[in-house]
C-alpha cells in the first residue's frame, strides 16, 4: 500500500468535477474502453480531468482499493464513482449522463467544460 499515492488519488477524485482514470491521455488514448468512456463524456459536454494510470502499476492498484472497482476506465463525478466504460456509455445514450452532470455540477456545466490531464505520481 502506498499512502501518499492513495491520498493524491482521493484528492483528485474529491476536488475535480469529473475525473476519468484511463489508459493514456485524451490526446493519445491507449485502450478502446478508455476511448469509449472519453467519447461518452465528450458527447455529454462534460469537463474532463484525465489521469493516466499507465505510468505506474501502483496507480491502478491504489485506485481500485479506493473505489472497489476492478477495471479501467473509471469515471467519477463530484467524488462519486459513476462506473466504467459500459455504464458511462449507456448513461450517455439515454441522456442520463447529461442529467447527472447538470444535477451535480449545475446546468451551465458545458460553458466551462475543458479537458485537462493531471498526474498523481509522487515526485521522487
Amino acid at each position: 500500500m502506498n499512502d501518499e499515492l492513495r491520498t493524491r488519488i482521493k484528492s483528485v477524485i474529491d476536488t475535480e468535477p469529473v475525473t476519468l482514470f484511463m489508459k493514456g491521455t485524451p490526446q493519445f488514448v491507449m485502450c478502446g474502453n478508455s476511448e469509449r468512456a472519453l467519447q461518452a463524456l465528450r458527447s455529454a459536454g462534460a469537463p474532463v480531468t484525465a489521469v493516466d494510470v499507465l505510468p505506474d502499476p501502483e496507480i491502478r492498484q491504489e485506485l481500485s482499493a479506493v473505489s472497489g472497482w476492478p477495471t479501467i476506465p473509471q469515471v467519477f463525478i463530484n467524488g462519486e464513482l459513476v462506473g466504467g466504460a459500459d455504464i458511462v456509455q449507456e448513461l450517455a445514450a439515454t441522456g442520463e449522463l447529461e442529467r447527472k452532470l447538470g444535477e451535480s455540477l449545475g446546468d451551465a456545466y458545458r460553458d466551462e467544460a475543458e479537458e485537462r490531464v493531471v498526474s498523481v505520481l509522487v515526485p521522487a
Binding site: 474502453n33 472497489g68 472497482w69 476492478p70 477495471t71 464513482l81 459513476v82 462506473g83 466504467g84 466504460a85 459500459d86 455504464i87 449507456e90 448513461l91
Partner: protein
Amino acid sequence: MAVVATETAELESLLRDAFPEASELRVTDRTGGGDHFLIEVTSARFDDLSLVDQHRLVNDALAAPFASGRIHEMRIKTRGTT
C-alpha cells in the same frame, strides 16, 4: 479451443451461483481468445440498484478469475426486471 470453452463455462457457472434468480444470463467470448468477455445478466435483484451497484455485484461474482489476470476485458450489461 478447449481452454477457451472452459473459461466461458467457468464464468457462467460463477454467475449462476451468484445470481440463481437471474431470468437471463449469458457469457459471450467476444474475440474467441478466451480473454474478452461480454457478460449479460437480467435479474430482479437489480431492480432498485444503480448501474454502478449492479455492476459491482457482477464484478464481485467474477473477482477471482479477474484477479488471476486471465481476463483482459469484461463488458457488462445488466438489467432489472421492471
